[in-house]
């Protein structure tokens, strides 16, 4: 339903440590990873093969293509370092990070990485290095799909890492739940037990120590060593425990200061009897085989004005992105049929009616997203769309109560909420 794009495959240590492939996960890395189709009839493709990506960009701007190539090579070279220092160890502070970068001599050794990035937006980063609007739009779009909003100050610091894995997008054959099943199987084979379909209601605390959990059914599970919560700070500290246990200060902080994303995702899931045939293939025929297609965001300004509208609680004229999984996963639909996911950036609560308004707006907005797709792929007539369902930001919050306000990243992605500041400085090292 949600996490369709797995971009850390073979980079994230747990993929190997938990032997997910031995447990049945099959990954496909589509050769045409992503594309943008633009209103002027052109299309830009990003390939698994970075040489082809660079060639495709050169059609738009040879200078930008060369810059992109240097950025990719550099970022890709740093990916291990970045993952090792920034992601797969308890977080540093921004200060420590800045110091480390300075000691490393980043300004001399790197064209793109710089301590300055922590004060810049992705837009600023792109403006400094690139010239072509459409290339910038695609790169900004790519950041946004990874939850890195292009107009947020400080996010430029994480952007090179995103570029370093821009061609590492993988599809989990059979759907992402296959990955969950693999993790489960590993757990069970090592003696663990998953209690499915059970709502945790309380964390049991004795003498200041978490000693177990109580389920909504009343059933209690005692902890041998510890309780680890994967859900939101709000649930964990406000709902699962009383303020007398958590302390007034932390309760107040969690209630008031945990930051959430200011936009969410609106999704349309489709079953189809045809693959999209874009009007852009005259320019680049590979666009018909792109896994994920940005439909018409043609400049960073486009995105900026969309964010403004969305933050004000309004719906934008949809410019969704379309992912056709069946292009690369024949098990996703019967032969001759296809599945697709349209995803549109959207507010969680609408200015007019709050999040509840999605109940009446969802279907209508879904229609509009489909119409937007059709503008670029006119062959997707009603006859070819066998069925479709929407999954609104409100649905996200209903189905996954840990995604407060439809926050699919479970916490704002901003410099102030990164590293050891996430979700709050006092919780930044994984325990209060």
């Amino acid at each position: 339903m949600h996490a369709n794009y797995h971009t850390f495959v073979d980079m994230a240590p747990p993929v190997a440590d938990l032997e997910v492939r031995r447990h049945g996960v099959e990954y496909v890395r589509p050769d045409v990873q992503m594309a943008s189709v633009f209103d002027d009839g052109t299309a830009l493709c990003v390939y698994a093969d970075i040489d082809r990506t660079t060639d495709a960009m050169a059609e738009f701007s040879p200078t930008d293509a060369a810059t992109f190539r240097r950025l990719y090579d550099e970022a890709h070279g740093f990916v291990d370092l970045l993952l090792g220092t920034l992601m797969y160890q308890p977080p540093l502070s921004v200060k420590e990070l800045t110091k480390a970068l300075a000691t490393f001599g980043v300004e001399e050794r790197s064209e793109f990485l710089s301590v300055k990035l922590r004060r810049e937006t992705i837009n600023e980063f792109l403006d400094q290095h690139f010239t072509d609007d459409r290339i910038k739009a695609h790169l900004a779009f790519h950041g946004a799909v990874c939850s890195y909003t292009n107009d947020v100050k400080g996010l430029a610091i994480g952007y090179p890492l995103l570029v370093g894995k821009i061609n590492n997008w993988h599809l989990c054959v059979g759907g992402s739940h296959r990955l969950a099943h693999a993790l489960w199987r590993d757990l069970a084979q090592h003696g663990g037990v998953m209690v499915a379909d059970a709502e945790v209601e309380r964390i049991l605390v004795e003498d200041g120590r978490a000693v177990g959990v109580r389920l909504a059914s009343g059933h209690e599970i005692a902890a041998r060593k510890l309780v680890a919560s994967t859900v939101s700070a709000e649930q964990t500290f406000l709902e699962f425990m009383d303020e007398s246990v958590v302390g007034e200060e932390l309760s107040t902080r969690v209630r008031n200061d945990v930051a959430h994303k200011d936009w969410s995702l609106f999704t349309v899931h489709l079953a189809m009897s045809a693959l999209p045939e874009y009007t852009a293939p005259k320019f680049n025929p590979d666009v018909d085989r792109a896994w994920v297609v940005n439909l018409g965001i043609g400049s960073t300004g486009h995105l900026d004005s969309d964010w403004e509208t969305i933050r004000a609680g309004s719906l934008v004229d949809p410019r969704p992105n379309a992912a056709v999984n069946s292009l690369y996963d024949p098990t996703d639909a019967p032969e001759g049929f296809y599945t697709a996911i349209l995803r549109q950036f959207a507010p969680f609560a609408l200015a007019d009616g709050g999040e509840g308004a999605w109940e009446r707006m969802g279907r209508w907005y879904g229609h509009r997203c489909i119409e937007a797709w059709r503008r670029y792929a006119p062959n997707l007539t009603d006859d070819t769309l066998l069925d479709w369902e929407v999954f609104t930001p409100q649905d996200i919050a209903h189905k996954l109560p840990n995604m407060v306000k439809g926050d699919w990243m479970m916490g704002e992605i901003s410099l102030a909420n990164m590293l050891d500041q996430r979700p709050l400085p006092e919780l930044g090292q994984y325990r209060p």
Binding site: R178, M194, A196
Partner: protein, 353 residues
């Protein structure tokens, strides 16, 4: 006939007809009376709901398998059973070959297993004939409507007995035993019956099945076999049948208006056939008639779970005792396998079977 002899209240007879047919005991077939008496009566009032939905049971069984070190290969259609020198030695699933250490057990129905996966060339004439003669439906062909509701149904008859609003399983839309019998005979003869159903509102007992303050209901329609209607006719059924059923429902529970329905869907036999390969949408993977029941299931020569191919067993609902969430087919098949291969018996000393 047994029902008519034992019970005189028309309402009770209607209900017994319905339950009887749900459990695969056709009204008009000789010999089903015994099953009614021996099998059906004791399951009455033992109906249970799996918290979280029936897939919780599948998950629990999956976890039990994982813990025993079993590998489940998902998302892979078995295309072929590999037979070498008259022995089943493995399977091919989505292009990959898996070799069997000891045996192959097939949960697919007997026809699919023998004719589809093994192939006639490995079978004797008798077994080919028997497999071809095996029939699906109409005994266990259902449609499942799903309704997302604001309010749970509030029946007019609650004035008579308020418990009706908290009843697990409610038959809706039948005027009496004759009406019920006609309905069932329609479905069995390939005609779309008038909309009526057994319905249940799981969210009354299991809050996990609907958001707070909302409800979810599902039910069963008896419907014709998948092949009785064309694809477009089934599409039409999916479009219209729930709506027509709602009229019947509203007549009995006035709050079941269109406005009370947030969303609804109907899952039809042709879809079941495609999705889980229940041929004809028959959940017992084979018609319930005397010549395919008991020791005749799926056919006499195959009734002890072993096929004529050495090492190939049947363990799905086309074997005795048939469909339903009881695991008896697999359990019995394992007993036979355990005896043949000298494996531990599943019978523990607390239990005699």
């Amino acid at each position: 006939m047994v029902i008519d002899e034992l019970f005189e209240t028309p309402e009770l007879r209607a209900l017994m007809y319905r339950v009887s047919v749900e459990w695969g005991l056709p009204l008009d077939t000789d010999g089903t009376g015994t099953d009614f008496l021996t099998f059906l009566m004791w399951t009455t009032a033992n109906w249970k709901l799996v918290y979280g939905g029936t897939h919780s049971l599948a998950k629990a069984m999956t976890q039990a398998c994982y813990r025993e070190g079993v590998d489940l290969i998902e998302n892979s259609l078995v295309e072929r059973v590999i037979v070498e020198d008259g022995r089943a030695v493995g399977v091919v699933a989505r292009g990959t070959e898996y070799r069997a250490n000891k045996l192959v057990a097939s949960n697919a129905d007997v026809r699919q297993t023998l004719l589809g996966l093994v192939g006639e060339e490995h079978l004797s004439d008798l077994w080919v004939k028997r497999a071809k003669a095996f029939r699906y439906g109409p005994s266990h062909v259902l449609g499942t409507p799903m309704f997302c509701l604001y309010e749970a149904p509030d029946y007019s008859s609650a004035r008579w007995d308020p418990e009706i609003n908290r009843c697990f399983y409610t038959a809706v839309g039948y005027e009496g035993p004759e009406d019920m019998a006609r309905y069932i005979r329609d479905a069995y003869s390939g005609t779309l019956p008038k909309p009526a159903a057994g319905v249940w509102v799981n969210s009354l007992w299991d809050p996990a099945q609907a958001p707070k303050g909302r409800h979810s209901a599902t039910g069963w329609y008896f419907l014709p076999c998948a092949s009785e209607l064309s694809a477009s006719e089934w599409a039409d059924v999916r479009e219209t049948f729930n709506d027509r059923f709602l009229d019947a429902w509203q007549a009995l529970a006035p709050n079941m208006t269109r406005d009370n329905v947030i969303a609804h869907k109907l899952y039809t036999p042709d879809q079941m056939e495609r999705k889980v390969m229940m041929r004809e949408g028959d959940f017992s993977h084979g018609e319930f008639v005397p010549d395919q029941q008991g020791v005749n299931r799926p056919f006499p020569e195959a009734s002890n779970y072993l096929t004529e191919i050495d090492g190939l067993y049947l363990c799905g609902p086309s074997t005795f005792p048939g469909g339903g969430v009881h695991a008896a087919c697999g359990y019995n098949a394992y007993k036979k396998i355990a005896a043949d291969l000298d494996l531990p018996s599943p019978v523990d000393n607390q239990r005699s079977y």
